[in-house]
């Protein structure tokens, strides 16, 4: 790859790094693992960049490569020692912004999401990111109708967890 391509890639990665961070947040439980996964995703993005033809938006392509790395390609490095507990670092709900019930509900929902399997987590992540079912289905390689059905089931599951 040329220096210009490298520069362009790094510029895009810096600009859209929140996508990678959010995927890492969804799939890791501590800071060291978050950084390790972030690095692996960055490597995979870099390696796949020459094949990015611009058919889709850069961010769409980033979601796909990042999720595929987290779900399929990532092997946790043996060097990693968990430093903090999941509840401590993962999804922080700022207490001052919500009343107690809302705060509790949000904490509960984040905890419930962490319990989902890797595929369901990907669906929830894309849903929370505001992606439409066409993009969700294309990213995961399932039919649009079934992606919607599955998401409805997950929502129902979260709702029942909250009400129980």
């Amino acid at each position: 790859m040329t220096k210009a391509q490298e520069k362009e890639f790094l510029k895009q990665l810096e600009k859209h790094q929140n996508i990678v961070h959010k995927v890492c947040k969804m799939y890791t439980n501590d800071e060291a693992s978050h950084k390790d996964l972030f690095q692996e995703i960055s490597i995979q993005l870099w390696k796949a960049y020459p094949k990015f033809r611009g058919d889709s938006k850069f961010t769409t392509w980033m979601y796909r490569v990042s999720l595929n790395t987290a779900i399929t390609l990532y092997r946790k490095s043996k060097k990693i020692i968990a430093t903090q507990d999941i509840a401590e670092i993962s999804f922080k709900v700022k207490a001052e912004e919500y009343d107690t019930t809302t705060e509790e509900n949000l904490k509960f929902m984040y905890a419930a999401i962490k319990e989902l399997n890797d595929i369901d987590k990907a669906l929830v992540l894309l849903y929370l990111e505001g992606k439409d079912y066409k993009e969700i289905a294309e990213t995961l390689g399932v039919s649009q109708v079934n992606a919607r059905v599955k998401m409805t089931r997950i929502k129902r599951k979260l709702k029942s967890l909250l009400s129980s």
Binding site: L13, K22, A48, F52, R64, I71
Partner: protein, 206 residues
């Protein structure tokens, strides 16, 4: 469900708390060595191919040819070696072809399928190695009983012969079984997460 809408909003707010890497930090990251599943499978497979080739080269020396000549198996061995190298080369080509097609920009399902297909190629290669080694070992074993080396004074008449053949086949079988168990465990551990996720993904489309 108003909680989900609230969750969506809160999710957006999480962005503010995310760490931000500078371009130089990102540059250092992308040049680090990957620790991906694909790379691991690729390295293990190459080691498997090289090991099986090295073993066959190591075994086939002058002493080996003297032995197979004595066993009246020289021509058979020559044919088997040519066939074996051709098949190994074919497997290496197939493996590399499948490996090159793997890209993380495919959909998750397609990516998983491609990895499993690549892994199947290696699996078929191992099955081929085990079967061919088993069969050729039995062949050499039987011929070594038929044409014993002059310095051995084995009594192979009647029940003794059957016991020797039985023990020999059992020994070969156990050795091959052990190789298979180690191999299955290795890939079983390596691909456990992928297989579980692939099953969950398939369930969505059921």
């Amino acid at each position: 469900m108003k909680e989900l809408e609230l969750l969506k909003k809160d999710w957006k707010k999480q962005e503010k708390a995310l760490p931000q890497y500078k371009i130089e930090e990102l540059r250092q990251m992308v040049y680090k060595r990957s620790n991906s599943l694909i790379r691991t499978i690729f390295i293990i497979s190459i080691v498997e191919f090289l090991l099986s080739c090295a073993l066959s080269i190591w075994f086939v020396d002058d002493e080996y040819w003297q032995l197979v000549t004595h066993l009246h198996l020289k021509t058979v061995t020559q044919i088997l070696l040519v066939v074996s190298y051709t098949i190994t080369l074919f497997f290496i080509y197939l493996f590399y072809h499948n490996y090159k097609k793997i890209t993380p920009q495919d959909s998750t399902r397609v990516l998983m399928k491609k990895i499993l297909r690549t892994r199947m190629t290696v699996r078929y290669y191992i099955i081929y190695i085990l079967i061919s080694t088993g069969l050729s070992s039995i062949l050499y074993f039987i011929f070594s009983l038929k044409y014993p080396m002059p310095e051995t004074d084995l009594n192979l008449s009647g029940i003794n012969g059957l016991i020797v053949i039985g023990v020999g086949i059992l020994f070969i079988g156990v050795a091959l079984l052990l190789v298979w168990i180690v191999y299955t465990l290795l890939y079983g551990i390596l691909l456990r997460k992928l297989k579980r996720n692939y099953e969950n993904l398939k369930k969505i489309d059921l």
